[in-house]
């Protein structure tokens, strides 16, 4: 059915539409300039945005499911009975697949990127992605701790590395290159870690810095839509901002006219000063200063909010550290020749000084970075908190009053060890539209594939919120911001109304986005003998059984690229 969304206040930053009252037409799942006999949605006095784009979230695969299996107590916190259209839901920080799809859709999100797919278990990630209803999605394979990667780095063979990355993307139906604690996860297979960019990885004798630079070269040679996506070394450590800034600097001078060359993820967890938990403090200002001065880098936030959540990452040694802090349950899963992961439940308490500082850092960063196009708002779901905290986070960014109210309730250490209380900036509607729609789509490279905007030909993914930017002053009425962003009046996915007033009204299956890089056959042929040897000697499965079959992407959206 064609739609006319009438008289809404539209923010569409990619098309430079900044709060204009206008009509939007959809037809056959796309935005069009006009339509015949459309169904009319009266959006008068309502906010109209492109569908939300979640750029970094953990929603599917082995570690998410390990969280579900390990935490029945979390499952109980989010129960919803089955409905006429909807399946039974469970979970708060680790929702089941249905709750994941419905909750994102009800909040107006229509695209979600799973940010860490272990290649050898990619089939699992895709099995869950298939079952997540409504939203479009993709998954980024982990590539940095692979033996193949490190051997290519050691020998300096960028041709072979480029071919290998292309092979993994094809074999896993993956979206890009994820880097997680480069070198540290291989070290963790021996119970060790790396402590900085220039440590040598045991046995492979390469450094994290060398791995990052090499994968960036492969990324650019393959013309991937997204840049390398990096979780820096030393996550969560006091004083880690030095490693973070040094990592950013590794690609100083490297440019790509279309996009950033490095996306640094959950930057909140990497922007700390101090040398221990006693003098732990925010270095958001220094990280922001670097981001402000450089145009080849983007970040996402990884905001912490106070709750009982589940941490999960490919960074196995980090999760062991969290286990030692909490002594709660700990799951670990090292994956042969490739990667690892860990899962630990975690409570962020407002009165616990380091946690209060972490919360403040997540809010400081977007207020200190001038250009919203360099950022995506994320909670690194569920690491900082579940994605359902977004409305509160938007309110914190849009209202100093809201921040003051919250600061008065958290540990006073935020007054001495962060500069949050002194920041007056309040973000506007357009900033939020950029940081949750336009910028994530650009950063991921899906803006060219119909995402993140409402221009003619774009996918008809639209969220309509029952709040009028003309009438509401976010600075004062922050409670209205929280309420309005909690659920949409309408979420439209591919031209179909999927959610209305917090109720799911249609459950289409979303598409899976993946990249198929074409490279010179001779490069691939030269790489394959090494790979075949790895399978013959060291993997515990056969090469023939590794690649993810087409059956695991029933609704494919393939982005073909041509490597140089």
């Amino acid at each position: 059915m064609d739609l006319l969304i009438k008289n809404g206040i539209v923010y569409d930053p990619i098309n430079k539409i900044n709060g204009e009252k206008m009509d939007i037409f959809t037809s056959n799942g796309k935005i069009v300039s006009n339509a015949k006999d459309p169904k009319v949605i009266d959006a008068d006095g309502k906010l109209v945005l492109p569908g939300g784009v979640e750029g970094h979230s953990h929603i599917a695969g082995g570690k998410v499911n390990a969280g579900r299996i390990m935490r029945p107590e979390d499952g109980r916190k989010g129960i919803e009975p089955k409905g006429k259209l909807t399946r039974a839901c469970s979970g708060y920080s680790v929702p089941n697949v249905y709750a994941t799809g419905y909750r994102y859709a009800r909040m107006g999100y229509t695209f979600v990127m799973e940010a860490a797919m272990p290649p050898m278990a990619a089939r699992h990630t895709h099995e869950e992605l298939i079952e997540i209803p409504i939203v479009d999605k993709g998954a980024i394979p982990l590539l940095d701790n692979h033996w193949m990667t490190m051997e290519c780095v050691k020998s300096g063979d960028m041709d072979k590395l480029t071919a290998y990355v292309a092979w993994i993307l094809k074999a896993t139906k993956g979206y890009g290159i994820k880097i997680v604690n480069p070198g540290g996860v291989e070290a963790w297979a021996w119970g060790k870690n790396v402590s900085g960019l220039h440590d040598r990885v045991p046995k492979f004798d390469v450094s994290p810095a060398e791995i990052v630079k090499a994968l960036s070269i492969a990324n650019e040679r393959l013309n991937l839509p997204h840049s390398i996506h990096i979780h820096c070394n030393n996550i969560g450590h006091p004083g880690n901002s030095e490693t973070t800034l040094e990592t950013y600097g590794l690609l100083s001078g490297v440019e790509n006219s279309d996009r950033q060359v490095m996306h640094a993820t959950h930057t909140q967890f990497h922007s700390y000063g101090g040398s221990n938990w006693g003098d732990f403090c925010s270095k958001a200002d220094e990280v922001a200063k670097y981001v402000n001065a450089h145009d080849n880098l983007t970040i996402d936030l990884g905001v912490v909010m106070f709750c009982d959540t589940t941490t999960m990452t490919g960074d196995g040694p980090h999760e062991f550290n969290l286990y030692k802090l909490t002594r709660r349950k700990w799951s670990n899963h090292d994956v042969e020749l490739e990667t690892g992961s860990g899962v630990v439940p975690f409570v962020y308490g407002a009165k616990i000084p380091p946690h209060a500082i972490m919360w403040a850092v997540g809010i400081e960063l977007p207020l200190l970075i001038d250009d919203p196009w360099k950022m995506m708002i994320t909670t690194d779901h569920p690491n900082g908190c579940p994605f359902t905290f977004y409305p509160q986070i938007f309110a914190l960014l849009m209202s100093k009053k809201k921040r003051e109210a919250m600061i008065s309730e958290v540990h006073p250490v935020v007054n001495s060890n962060t500069i949050l209380p002194s920041i007056d900036r309040e973000l506007g509607w357009n900033d939020i539209a950029i940081m949750t729609r336009a910028a994530p789509a650009r950063i991921l490279g899906i803006d060219k594939h119909g995402k993140g905007h409402l221009g003619s030909g774009a996918d008809a993914d639209i969220s309509i919120y029952d709040i009028s930017p003309e009438e509401v002053d976010p600075s004062r009425d922050y409670a209205k911001i929280e309420d309005a962003f909690s659920y949409t009046a309408y979420t439209i996915k591919s031209g179909q109304i999927v959610a209305k007033d917090n109720e799911i009204v249609a459950v289409p299956s979303g598409k899976t986005f993946f990249v198929d890089p074409e490279i010179d056959k001779s490069l691939m042929d030269a790489m394959l003998p090494d790979l075949e040897l790895k399978f013959k000697e060291y993997y515990s499965i056969n090469l023939a059984n590794y690649p993810v079959q087409d059956a695991y992407v029933p609704n494919p959206y393939k982005i073909s690229t041509k490597g140089a």
Partner: protein, 433 residues
């Protein structure tokens, strides 16, 4: 090999949780004639044996042949008329069928349970208490210098495990058995124990206190450990803990000797905690020796579909999980369920008497390629293609690695996935009417 014969390589074996994926199967176009590289158990499964040829419906006490349409219709009627349907099994079929099954049980508000509840269910409960320090089997093959089988006997239950993944397997950092120590802890000297560098015989039911003693020693409090625990001397225990602390990469493969003996899930909580604590000294992991080839897959599917890995009850509309209450043995034993759907399993052989007795009093639906004692209780029998031989789909190895099992030959039987897809449609129709 005749001209029409075809050799299929890289076949994934649908027998045990080792999910060996290097088999070669020769077919003559209609049936399998040879299986290479498989163990005896896998070969026997793939070669097959006498089947249930046709769907069956019980009438006047006797099973008579029926069409698939009739049998699925009858099964759907039973399920949609039930107030408290129960389903059990699901370990020897593929994830795609399990997904349909979960949906079916949600639709009819039933209880869904897997064979894990009488197998490694206690391991799952322990994971919910203390977590799961694991790794893939290739990590063991490439790195392990200390391999411990505790209450598990792979020589009989997972015959190729040691050659492919553990004791004998050669890897990047390990030349195989020369470079590693094999220790076996068991109540009797098994075939696996025969090959061990060290076999430690323990008294039955004493696993929990042995782990407690080891953790006590590890924490530096050996002075409170008695001179002998569970049949092991204190000196020996100190030596074992010391060996574990010095491992470069250690692994414990836990078996049913832990889950189904005295203390059950407590044994697993204790050994997982031991492994956690050893990690402050040495890299150490634990992998449960899962039995059926896709029992791990059931846990995965059930968790992503419902939030919980087994024993889920949909009667409230939302998912309720409470093992001990919502486990199949208990639901039957309380004579609570009024119909019973059994898929690829044999509760009549494996369940306690009190639970089996209730099977006599309620309609039982069996979906299985083969006749087994449960068939004697069944009112509707629906023969399915053998997943992994005659139907494709996803299965999860004991370490969580998902592989796609193949369809090797065409058969007249529908797959489990097709059967449950039809049943789900039928049930929705009947419920809607």
């Amino acid at each position: 090999m005749s001209a029409e014969n075809r050799i299929i390589t890289d076949v994934v074996c649908p027998f045990c949780g080792s999910l060996c994926d290097d088999l070669e199967v020769e077919t003559d176009g209609t049936k399998i004639v040879k299986v290479k590289k498989a163990c005896k158990l896998g070969k026997s499964k793939i070669m097959g044996h006498e089947r249930i040829e046709s769907p069956l419906i019980r009438e006047d006490g006797k099973l008579r042949e029926a069409t698939y349409e009739e049998a699925i219709e009858r099964a759907s009627q039973i399920l949609s008329n039930s107030k408290r349907p129960l389903s059990y099994g699901w370990a020897s079929t593929v994830c795609e069928a399990i997904e349909k099954g979960v949906h079916l049980l949600e639709e009819i508000g039933g209880v869904m349970d897997s064979t894990a509840s009488v197998c490694h269910g206690p391991t799952v409960l322990a994971v919910q208490g203390v977590g799961a320090p694991g790794c893939t089997l290739g990590e063991v093959k490439n790195r392990a210098d200390l391999v411990i089988f505790w209450g598990s006997n792979p020589v009989h239950a997972h015959p190729r495990h040691q050659a492919r993944y553990s004791y004998n397997a050669k890897g990047f950092f390990s030349g195989g058995k020369e470079d590693r120590t094999l220790m076996v802890f068991d109540v009797r000297k098994t075939k696996t124990a025969d090959k061990a560098d060290e076999y430690v015989q323990i008294e039955p039911g004493s696993d929990y206190k042995i782990f407690s003693a080891m953790r006590t020693i590890l924490s530096g409090n050996e002075d409170v450990v008695p001179s002998e625990v569970g049949g092991i001397s204190k000196e020996k225990l100190i030596e074992i803990v010391d060996r574990m602390k010095k491992a470069k990469f250690g692994v414990i493969f836990g078996g049913l000797g832990l889950t189904q003996s005295r203390c059950r899930y407590k044994n697993l909580e204790n050994v997982i905690s031991l492994v956690d604590e050893i990690n402050e000294h040495a890299k150490f992991t634990l992998i449960p020796m899962r039995g059926h080839y896709n029992i791990a897959g059931f846990g995965q599917v059930c968790a992503w579909e419902t939030g919980y890995p087994f024993a889920v009850d949909f009667s409230r509309g939302y998912v309720w999980y409470n093992p001990g209450e919502t486990t199949a043995v208990d639901v039957l034993n309380r004579k609570e369920c009024d119909s019973f759907l059994v898929v690829a399993a044999d509760p009549a052989s494996n369940f306690p008497k009190g639970s089996v007795e209730h099977m006599k009093d309620i309609p039982v639906i069996q979906v299985d390629p083969y006749h087994n004692p449960t068939t004697e209780f069944a009112d509707v029998v629906i023969p399915a293609a053998v997943a992994g031989v005659e139907a494709e789909g996803t299965a999860y190895r004991m370490d969580g690695i998902p592989l796609r099992v193949r369809k090797l030959v065409d058969v007249k039987y529908p797959s489990d996935e097709e059967i449950f897809d039809k049943m789900l449609t039928k049930v929705k129709e009947l419920k809607g009417a």
